[in-house]
Symmetry: C2
């Protein structure tokens, strides 16, 4: 038995997220189907974490175990030949049997992209969240500094998950807000993310940047541990999983 | 009667090019349909030039004449509300009656994007030409210098057009090849473009960069005025109309 690590890029627009669901087009389902076609046996492909419908990736990592004599380069070529054009494999690597794409994660980086101008973009319609209202970026950066660090992020966890996850303390080691023309890129690195945590943080930063909420709402929200107090979740299509570190 | 100038952005993937054709989804057809819905009368919308199927734009310019009391800002808002998400209007401006989007052009800039790495990109699949073979960029730049300037570009004109256009002399004032990670951007500014000229030049530069042809083929091709001698046309989806100057 050998263990293979994949680095995957996908356009989330036409996928119902990563996680396999019967009768739905999911990234996991699609990749597994092609792996099973290559190896002619059942393959279980496990990612660093699920991504929601519409969410993109340029550096999703997954692993699968299989008995084969195929070389990583051959698997790489075969997979890219079989996969639909909205998923591509950047790398296939042979890794030790104890490597686990989810459990071995050291940190992950997500980037949320906002298009902040008065008219939408034809090219970025499925890749950036179009937000036409003025934003105070320096204020958002001040708020970001209050979110960075080790906190109980329960208030930014999707309510549906609140009963499942016991420990909601995470450490955000990096949170940057970079302007690039009309685009704003919010990049977050953490040792772990709660379900919808990035999109909930972005929703809150947008509320602060647009003046709907003061920046000192952040310590109050963190302390409250109450999702219902935090602003709305930002839409999935602005989000992209950039990199997973092991 | 008033004259309006539009700056348009479009994703060419699902369009059969700019030019109206019955029973086809074209950018001109789509924009005119929405203008006619706004003004409740027939509107003829003329672009700086047609773009082919699959070709994109971030700065296409068009004009239309109509009798209306609507302000440019109102037309802008109404158009973006009606247009499908793969076309967007960046600007609507009231211009003198003698402004003509095609005849008044001073120069145009196109950019051709190549993804030069071993595996394709899910995100750029319809925006960049995936070319996995090694390319000698310095050699391509040397060839580009031989193309720049005032020449008879007949050898780079689509054969189908050769009988229609009498004067095939054009001046390329700028031709740059910029590397950005795995992407190569070939940017060309000229006072006029023959049909498929950019894609034919890019096809030739790729033949030179990959070692299939020597760079001194350029003066020979220009002198020959023979499309049949020049290499294949690069595919449309790598091309984007960037800017039109008046």
């Amino acid at each position: 038995m050998r263990n293979f690590k994949l680095i995957l890029e996908y356009d989330g627009y036409e996928f119902s997220g990563w996680q396999f669901q019967p009768f739905q087009r999911t990234v996991q389902g699609h990749v597994q189907e092609k792996l099973e076609r290559i190896f002619k046996k059942k393959v279980n492909c496990i990612a660093s974490g699920r991504t929601d419908a519409g969410v993109h990736a340029v550096g999703q990592v997954a692993h699968f175990k299989v008995e084969t004599i195929m070389k990583p380069a051959q698997i790489h070529k075969a997979l890219n030949a079989f996969l639909d054009r909205d998923v591509s494999v950047a790398k296939v690597q042979n890794v030790p049997l104890d490597f686990h794409a989810q459990y071995s994660v050291k940190n992950k980086t997500y980037c949320y992209t906002i298009l902040n101008r008065s008219y939408p973009s034809a090219h970025w319609r499925n890749r950036a969240y179009f937000y036409p209202h003025p934003l105070n970026i320096p204020l958002m950066r001040q708020a970001a500094r209050l979110i960075k660090g080790k906190h109980d992020f329960k208030c930014f966890q999707a309510a549906s998950e609140s009963s499942k996850i016991k420990n909601t303390v995470r450490t955000i080691s990096r949170l940057t807000i970079v302007e690039e023309g009309d685009f704003i890129h919010i990049s977050i690195t953490s040792n772990g993310f709660l379900y919808r945590m990035v999109r909930n943080i972005v929703g809150t930063l947008l509320s602060i940047g647009s003046g709907k909420l003061p920046k000192d709402i952040i310590p109050k929200l963190l302390k409250s541990k109450d999702r219902k107090l935090a602003p709305a979740t930002a839409p999935g299509h602005g989000l992209c999983l950039m990199r997973v570190r092991y």
